[in-house]
Each structure stands twice: as structure tokens, then as C-alpha cells.
Symmetry: C2
Subunit: 315 residues, 2 copies
């Protein structure tokens, strides 16, 4: 296991700068009033390809040697990582293959293909996905870029917290959603080195609370495809992300499906930005736990904005 | 008629700085590809109270003497100006009265009242509105702040173009939607003085094209409450705004209802921001007129983000 270091994160930031947005930090007096806290929203929904995963994917892709890059990259993902890896590979002009379940929404397949990657379908089971993916790698020699359990990806995601502390002074806490733990691990990497006084919280759907249960149990608990509207957060922790989470996270807070949808709609309505359900989980947790966040200055990471505008969860 | 000057605009910018956001300028490679141009979106949908009108309203409110301010402000509006005047008055802690037709959506009345103003209902006719408004002013002595035909308001709206040229170099053109012409007039005020080489375009719904017809005819043509999804653009030009429009605008381009809705959805989908239909009219015009904008660097003013999330025009 290779543990990414502060230097890896700093190098990642230089490497990806030409390929990602330095996203704005937005505030809302109205939402602050509801939370009883000062919230600073880091808008990764406004990131290239609509999600923070453009950071980690770009770091992995642009860190390859020319010889490695020539063979391309591959991953399995039905979410933002596939789209963002496709985006980064397209920027470098190298092949990219994304294995996706044939049952994934057509819009998601189109998004991946839209940035130039080849989509290879598998059956919606772990066995089929692993077999299909092994074939792709055997055939192409492509470099596997895991959605989160990869030091290059974690170092890339850590650049988001770096920008946040450069833009906002004296934060008391930062909160991010947790699924596989890539963003939270990157946040841990950055803040534990550069701003160790800032507390790190993770937020998770009650219906996919494997990270919260892992945190309490002291070892990884993995659920099999839990159901939640926050579809980016269905995946389990892995060894590398677990290492960061168990060492640096103060607490993992959980919220209901209704609380997620309400927070999502609140962000759209008052902040005028499009966020996907996963992005709203941290705000839902802040609103639910005023005892934890009252009067604090809190960085809230809005992780992505890829949502089907024809199927909004409150309609 | 008092014509606002460059100095008025510069003073407005200093005056309103503590009360409005310096909104970000966003870009989208995807939208640039569709337009064949480089577009810089000035995000007034992310402005306080969700619209650029917070600028003009704040300038009017904070420019009052203490004696004037004590009597409060008043306006008639069923749109963003009422909300924004209420916001600005609330910031100064002075009374605000907004006359609104009783038929206006409850959400709009709630938005105005939400920032602290008193809502007084009238019948949905010009006669009733004027009579009701006269009563309010007689009773309170409040200062009337017109939604757009007011030098203080135009000077305030002009601060948006100032920020845009400070943030984006070498623009060839700026385009904004036109209803009553407040934003376009402010843009004319600023650019004709500070960057006279930048062409100014206005964009308007075909179904409410009174400004375009005025522009061609050489005198104001006012329609009576035209119907369009871009509900912020139903009002006619008035003497002061007409003066700026006729002198400094290069052209007024019109677009269909479907083109407005398509451009609105494109902005939501690719840029991950919530804009109201009026805001999408300029992008629709840019996409419709590649001959005018090809290869150009174009500032696009997104005017507001106040929309009913339960009633989206593409659903």
C-alpha cells in the first residue's frame, strides 16, 4: 500500500492546475441563519465534468509516463469517476475505457462517452464487472485508475481542501460526504498536514451508513449496494481510504433520505446552484446537528452537480 | 430627467460593495464549443436576493439621506426588483412597501415579505396599481424607487459591467437581456465610458419584442403585458433607459420561447447553476447568431436565478 504524502498533494495541485477549475467558494446568509453557523461552500459542482473527481483523475492521467499513457487508462464506475477519467484522458489525448453495468442510466453512459472514452458494458454484478474489467486490461494494457482507493486519486482530491484553506481563513471544521472515502481521505491528507486544528467531519446517508458503522466498529464494514438517493455514496471504504478516515476524522454523521432531498432543494433555491443529492448530505448533517456546528466557521464541500434534470427527487 | 454619469456609477460601486456579492464569472468549454465563441458568464443569479437588481436597489437605498431613509422606500413590482428593494431596505433597517397584483404567485409575495417589506396588493391593472401606489406614498412619504427608469438604479446596475471588464480582458462584446432596459442602460453607461470598443447587444423574447421594435422604429413602442416564459422581460422601455439603448446598443436580437427554454436547460445541465428564463435569453441569442459572435470573446450577463423549482419550463 502506497500512502500519498503532502508532497504528492502539492505536486498534484501543480500538475492539474491547467486542467481543472479553481472553483469558487460561495456563501449564503439565509442558509447561515438556518444553520446558526458560518458556512463556506466549496463548489466542486462547478468543477470540470461536474465533479471533484476531475482532480484525482487528472492527477492520475497527467502523472503517467508517456509510455504508460500510450496504453491508456481504464476504470469501472457508474458515476462521476468514469466521466472525469474520460475527461482527463481526453485532455491528454490517450485512450480510456470505462466498464459500466448495462443497467446504468443511458445519460451516464452518454456522459462518459461524451468526453471520448469507450464504454464497455458488464452485467450488474461484482463478478461480471471484475471479469469484464480483467479482459479490458489484458487486451489494452491500460493503467487501472481506481475511483478512490488509489494514492494518485487521493492526492488529487486533497487539492480541494488546499484551495479552501487558501480562500477562507480560520475555519473550525470541514465536512464532506463519504462513500468510498476518496474526498474525505484527500481532505485528511491536506488538513492533517497544513491545518491540523481544523476538525474533519464526514456525512453519510442513513441508508448507506457503512462508513459510520465502520468508524464505530474500528474496522471496515462493507454493504452490498445500499439504496439511497445519494447515488455517489453507495460504495464502501477500502484499505487506503480507511487508513485516513480512522486516523483523522472527528465523526461521521448520518442523515435521512428526506433530509438529503430537503437540503438539496434548499441549496438550489437559495444558492442558485445545481448540486446532486450526494453534495447535499453535508449540509443536511450540519442542519441536523446544531450542537456540533453552532457559531463555527465550517467549510462544506459540494462534491458534484451531475443530476438528471428531468427527474428531480422532490417532484 | 437626470442622466446618471460615470461618477455616479463609480460612487454606486463603492456604496453597494458591503451589501452585494462580487459575483463570479464562469466559463464552460462545452457551451463555448456550441457557440463557436468564448463566453464569460457574469453570474448575477448568484447575487444577493438572486438577481442583479440588488445592485440598483442597494444604490438607491444607501444613497438616501437619513431623513429620507426614515420615511422608507416603496415600489411596484411583481418580480426581482420588489425582492431586491426589500433586501436593501432590510439591510439599512428602513421601511419598504411593495405594491403587487393580488394575482402574483404566492412564492413571489413570500420572497418580498421574506426580506421584511410590507406587501400591499392591488388589482392586476395599471389603474389599480397606480391608485394603490399613490395611496402608499401619500400615507408613508416613502421614496419611490422605480424598477429601472431611475438614475440611481441604472448607476447601480452599471457596476456589473465594471466588474466584468475588471475580471475579463479584451472582451469584444457584452450581451444582456432587455425588458425595461435597466441592466442594458447600466451596461451602456459603464462601457461607453470605460471600454467604448466593446459592442453592446441586447436580447429579447420574440413574444415580447417591444424593445427590438422600438430600436428599429427609433421611438419607444410599449406592449401591454406580453406573454413570455421570460417573465422578467415583459415591461417596456421608458425615457431614461431608451436614451441609453438608442445611443449605445449595437443590436437587439430576438429568440423564440423554445430557444429560451433550451438555453436555460443547457445552462443548468452544463454549468450547474440555476438561472431563471430571462437569464437564458442572451445565450439563446448567441447560439442563434453564430455569424455575429463567432470567434469573439463575449460577456454574457446572467441576470437572475429566482425560479419556482416545482414548475420547471421543460417538465
Amino acid at each position: 500500500m502506497i500512502i500519498p504524502t503532502l508532497d504528492d498533494m502539492l505536486a498534484a495541485h501543480e500538475r492539474i492546475k491547467p486542467h481543472v477549475h479553481r472553483t469558487p467558494v460561495l456563501t449564503s446568509s439565509h442558509v447561515d441563519g438556518l444553520a446558526g453557523a458560518q458556512l463556506f461552500f466549496k463548489c466542486e459542482n462547478l468543477q470540470k465534468a461536474g465533479a471533484f473527481k476531475a482532480r484525482g483523475a487528472s492527477n492520475a492521467v497527467f502523472g503517467l509516463s508517456d509510455a504508460e499513457a500510450a496504453r491508456g487508462v481504464a476504470t469501472h464506475s457508474s458515476g462521476n469517476h468514469g466521466t472525469c477519467l474520460s475527461y482527463a484522458a481526453g485532455r491528454r489525448g490517450i485512450p480510456c475505457t470505462v466498464v459500466m453495468p448495462r443497467t446504468a442510466p443511458q445519460a451516464k453512459k452518454d456522459a462518459v462517452a461524451g468526453y471520448g472514452a469507450r464504454v464497455v458494458e458488464c452485467e450488474p454484478s461484482v463478478t461480471s464487472r471484475e471479469a469484464t474489467f480483467a479482459e479490458v486490461v489484458a487486451e489494452t494494457g491500460a493503467e487501472f485508475v481506481h475511483p478512490y482507493n488509489d494514492p494518485r486519486v487521493i492526492a488529487g482530491q486533497g487539492t480541494c481542501a488546499k484551495e479552501m484553506i487558501e480562500n477562507v481563513e480560520s475555519l473550525d471544521a470541514v465536512i464532506a460526504p463519504i462513500g468510498g472515502g476518496g474526498m474525505v481521505s484527500g481532505t485528511c491528507l491536506t488538513l492533517s498536514n497544513l491545518a491540523p486544528n481544523i476538525k474533519i467531519y464526514a456525512a453519510e446517508p442513513e441508508q448507506a451508513d457503512d462508513a459510520a458503522r465502520s468508524f464505530k466498529a474500528g474496522h471496515i464494514i462493507a454493504d452490498d449496494a445500499p439504496e439511497t438517493v445519494a447515488d455517489g455514496l453507495r460504495v464502501p471504504l477500502k484499505d487506503l481510504t480507511w487508513r485516513f478516515v480512522k486516523s483523522h476524522v472527528t465523526d461521521i454523521l448520518t442523515v435521512s433520505e428526506q433530509e438529503i432531498v430537503d437540503a438539496m432543494k434548499l441549496i438550489w433555491k437559495r444558492m442558485k446552484i445545481v448540486v446532486e443529492p450526494s453534495s447535499a448530505v453535508p449540509l443536511a448533517a450540519v442542519l441536523k446537528n446544531p450542537d456540533v456546528f453552532a457559531q463555527k466557521r465550517v467549510g462544506v464541500i459540494l462534491t458534484g452537480g451531475n443530476v438528471d434534470l428531468d427527474k428531480l427527487p422532490w417532484l
